[in-house]
């Protein structure tokens, strides 16, 4: 893509590589000088002055590095790492982003970026997500992607990462875009680098920061404007009252995007933020992907999450033979014993830790342990940190 770059595009890459990582007066600079090419020419002849817009440090760097050879080197580096760069005037720069208040001057991309990505929904939430959040993020993103929606997320651990994973499980040919808060060559967190690799294969990993640019904690919130900017709507899966997610939501409101929120139990700290959004009318509650799709004139065929049937129903169904269920594959429902059903009943309203189950069921401890092991192996319940057991609900 670099062979047919226009002069202006080349100079824009050059200017961006010199600029610092913070919000800058890019639009004002552009308006004042007319084009970046003009700045380059002034810098090359060492006549460039700050005009109250360019910081002294940037000015020094611009004058120092104003040469065509330098730009060639820059581009060689991008080619070496297979990074595509889109300036605001390059074809392929997402149209959605051009509309926001401060679009990134250059988008660096691994994978494929399209100017028209179609309907896109950002799925965001807490980094320390609960099993509930993780499950919904995965399922909703997979279902949405199957409907042709592109999922935008931040590749963070927790909800963001799960959203990407879910989207990759779909059969969509352009399932997801991940927006980094670090420079394009520095996948953060490193534990998600494998995930990033699979995103690149089918979607795109993008960043507004050039390779080797040093980013910091302030670049992550700055990046959030791109997440909301790229999306038609933003779905908050889980967030505490005070959460970085709020920054994205503020951007979404500013940029006129729809905000959706997943309701949770009122006692869950991680659902406090999402519930508050709903209470204040700042977001639309989402119970299934149709709540989102209907706003864009679409409907999905099957979207409502299945609700776990009560244990007695499960036992009843078993007699009637229900063919397509994960549980029946692992263990026939009919073979659930009375005591196993009691445990399932105990876990039905909420996950419980070992002690709580112990109090509810009143089995001997060793017997309870063996019942739980049996259920766990049968894929009916699972154990998470703190010895908390929960039902695996077929969503």
């Amino acid at each position: 893509m670099y062979s047919d770059l226009s002069k202006e595009e080349r100079y824009r890459l050059w200017y961006d590589s010199q600029n610092n990582v913070y919000y800058n007066k890019y639009q004002q600079v552009l308006a004042h000088f007319g084009s970046i090419e003009a700045i380059f020419e002034l810098a090359r002849s060492k006549k460039l002055t700050s005009e109250g817009l360019i910081s002294d440090m940037l000015l020094k760097k611009l004058i120092e590095n104003a040469s065509e050879a330098y730009i060639d080197e820059l581009i060689a580096e991008l080619i070496k790492h297979n990074v595509k760069a889109y300036t605001l005037i390059t074809e392929g720069y997402p149209d959605m982003l051009k509309d926001i208040y401060d679009p990134p001057a250059v988008l660096y991309c691994l994978g494929n970026l399209k100017s028209d990505i179609g309907l896109s929904i950002a799925i965001i939430g807490s980094r320390s997500a609960s099993p509930y959040g993780i499950r919904v993020a995965r399922v909703f993103s997979r279902q949405l992607a199957n409907e042709g929606v592109c999922i935008i997320s931040g590749l963070a651990k927790g909800i963001d990462g799960e959203a990407s994973r879910g989207a990759l499980k779909s059969n969509s040919d352009y399932p997801t875009i991940a927006v980094l808060g670090t420079n394009i060559l520095n996948i953060f967190p490193a534990s998600n680098s494998e995930l990033a690799q699979s995103i690149m294969e089918r979607g795109a990993v993008i960043s507004e920061y050039a390779p080797h640019k040093v980013t910091n904690r302030y670049t992550f919130p700055q990046r959030n404007r791109i997440i909301s900017g790229l999306s038609n709507g933003v779905l908050v899966v889980e967030a505490a009252i005070k959460s970085g997610t709020n920054i994205t939501i503020d951007y979404a409101h500013e940029q006129g995007r729809n905000v959706y929120s997943l309701p949770g139990r009122i006692t869950d700290e991680l659902s406090a933020g999402t519930n508050a959004l709903i209470r204040h009318g700042a977001a639309k509650p989402v119970f299934g992907i149709n709540d989102i799709l209907e706003d864009y004139g679409k409907t999905a065929v099957c979207n409502e999450p299945k609700i776990m049937p009560s244990p007695s129903e499960m036992a009843g169904h078993a007699k009637k033979k229900s063919p397509d269920s994960k549980i029946s594959a692992a263990k026939p429902k009919a073979s659930l014993t009375h005591d196993e059903l009691l445990v399932i009943q105990a876990l039905n309203d909420s996950p419980k830790n070992f002690d709580e189950i112990c109090n509810v069921c009143e089995f001997s401890i060793s017997y309870l342990i063996s019942v739980l092991t049996e259920l766990e192996f049968s894929g009916i319940i699972r154990q998470s940190h703190g010895r908390v057991y929960e039902l695996i609900k077929p969503l």
Partner: protein, 508 residues
């Protein structure tokens, strides 16, 4: 003139005979101690002289040579004050030589002639018995400790004058008889019925105690890990007399005996702080003294905040855990101490303590959590058979008045389980399931048909490693013993599997 007195020295936790020879010859008054005395032994010169004079006895004028045989072994401490004084008096013909025949003497002297207690009395008294001596003269304060040894008369003495009168048959001192052996339980710490909630962790502790397995508890701060650990000595079987002697020996040589009975009747509970050095934990220093692992012998070594221990300290623990003893070699000394303890370790899942908690959010980064957990090495985790996660305790549980099983009744169940194990392994030279070598696991722990099926399923579903396989079988054997079952069935296997899955939740 020559005076001879028998005494004992200490090497590790064993005594060895020391012969004290005093030669009084005509010449200018002088006093020399030979036979590798340390500073404390050399200084005894002044104490002995003052004590003899202040006891209104005759201190000889002349050339005194004190030899401590065997001459090539280093003698340490103040135990030789009293025998040297008696040797001088014998050489001076104040007390007859025959009076000291078949008698072992030790004790420190005060300047006024009083006899002060020393340490290491039990091993030295055992040595006296093996030397074939009939009588043991020792400080009154140490007498109770020595009295537990049969076939030897224990004569407690208060001061030098009284000792002389006794040896001259001018007064009588009745030999001290031991109180009846009365194994006590660990009364001072926590009773299991006081621990509300934590049913799962308590059960794990009971299983661990039954088979002598090491235990690791993982949980948020304030969930009761320390309380359970403190309760464990109270549910372990009572010490037998032989075990008590062994424990007392170790505590005796580091001068840590407390109480009037002179013998340790309770299983030790040691909880070194996590700033401990490897020397303080496994033993060492120039005289190769025992460390915490040996002081916890036959009891519980509780390591709270396990990952906070230094890396080298943790790794140093591996050998004693495996072998049940520790050999310490220093330039000047070498000693082997028993270190057959039950390791109970407790830890938070992350630096802030709330990783995975439902009540309080964890403030640690993923990386912090990972590096915190990784401080515990794989081989270390492998040596701990039972891992258990604590539940978060709710207020209603904490304040409930339900009567829970007392340590007393739990202990009797555990004693039964241990008896079953002892009987089963009577020809194998081991006592408990935890000691089973891999070869014998297949012989004694084979599960029945359903149990085998379950364990196969576990390998499929949970990726239970082959290494964990043996451990699961061992623990399942213990669970079965606790329930009084001869076969290892699926219910026992199911429970044992639960004690391994903490690893997969946190470490992998």
């Amino acid at each position: 003139m020559l005076g001879q007195v028998k005494s004992c020295g200490l090497s590790g936790i064993n005594g060895y005979p020391v012969e004290i020879e005093v030669d009084l010859s005509v010449g200018l008054p002088s006093y020399d101690t030979v036979g590798l005395p340390d500073a404390a032994v050399r200084e005894s010169k002044e104490r002995v002289r003052s004590a003899i004079i202040n006891s209104k006895l005759n201190y000889p004028d002349g050339r005194l040579i004190i030899n401590l045989a065997p001459a090539a072994t280093k003698k340490v401490g103040s135990v030789y004050d009293l025998p040297i004084a008696l040797g001088i008096l014998a050489a001076n013909q104040i007390i007859p030589k025959s009076a000291l025949k078949d008698t072992v003497v030790f004790g420190e002297l005060a300047l006024n002639g009083d006899v002060r207690p020393v340490y290491g009395v039990l091993p030295m008294a055992l040595c006296a018995r093996s030397m074939g001596c009939k009588k043991l003269i020792l400080p009154e304060a140490n007498a109770a400790e020595a009295s537990h040894i049969s076939d030897i008369e224990v004569i407690p003495v208060k001061n030098l004058t009284q000792t002389c009168k006794f040896l001259l048959h001018r007064s009588k001192i009745s030999p001290l008889k031991a109180e009846d052996w009365n194994p006590d339980t660990y009364s001072a710490l926590v009773d299991f019925s006081d621990i509300k909630g934590q049913q799962g962790a308590k059960r794990a502790a009971i299983v661990a105690a039954s088979g002598g397995h090491n235990l690791l508890m993982v949980g948020a701060p304030g969930t009761g890990k320390t309380m359970i650990a403190k309760g464990i000595p109270g549910i372990l079987p009572r010490l037998t007399f032989e075990e008590a002697l062994e424990v007392t020996k170790i505590h005796s040589v580091v001068n840590m005996l407390e109480g009037r009975s002179g013998i340790i009747t309770q299983r030790p509970f040691r909880s070194p702080h996590h700033s401990a050095s490897s020397v303080s934990l496994v033993g060492g220093s120039s005289n190769a003294s025992p460390g915490e692992v040996s002081l916890a012998h036959l009891g519980v070594l509780f390591l709270d905040e396990f990952p906070e221990f230094k890396k080298d300290v943790m790794e140093a623990l591996r050998e004693p855990i495996e072998d049940g003893k520790i050999t310490i070699t220093r330039a000047a000394a070498k000693a082997t101490y028993p270190a057959d303890f039950m390791l109970v370790a407790a830890m938070n899942p992350c630096p802030c303590g709330y990783f995975g908690s439902r009540q309080k959010p964890c403030t640690c980064s993923r990386y912090q959590v990972k590096s915190y957990l990784q401080r515990i090495s794989g081989p270390m985790l492998d040596r701990i058979d039972i891992h258990v996660e604590m539940s978060e305790v709710t207020y209603s549980e904490m304040t409930s008045n339900v009567q829970l099983e007392t340590s007393e009744s739990i202990r009797s169940k555990i004693e039964n389980a241990r008896a079953i194990q002892k009987n089963r392994y009577k020809n194998e030279g081991i006592m408990i399931n935890a000691q089973l070598p891999p070869g014998l696991v297949k012989k004694y722990c084979l599960p029945d048909e359903n149990g085998a099926k379950l364990i196969r399923r576990a390998m499929d579903v949970q990726a239970l490693s082959p290494r964990a396989y043996d451990r699961v079988l061992k623990v399942a054997r213990t669970v079965a013993d606790l329930e009084g079952s001869t076969t290892v069935s699926s219910i026992h296997i199911a429970e044992a599997i639960q004690y391994r899955n903490v690893i997969s939740k946190y470490w992998i």
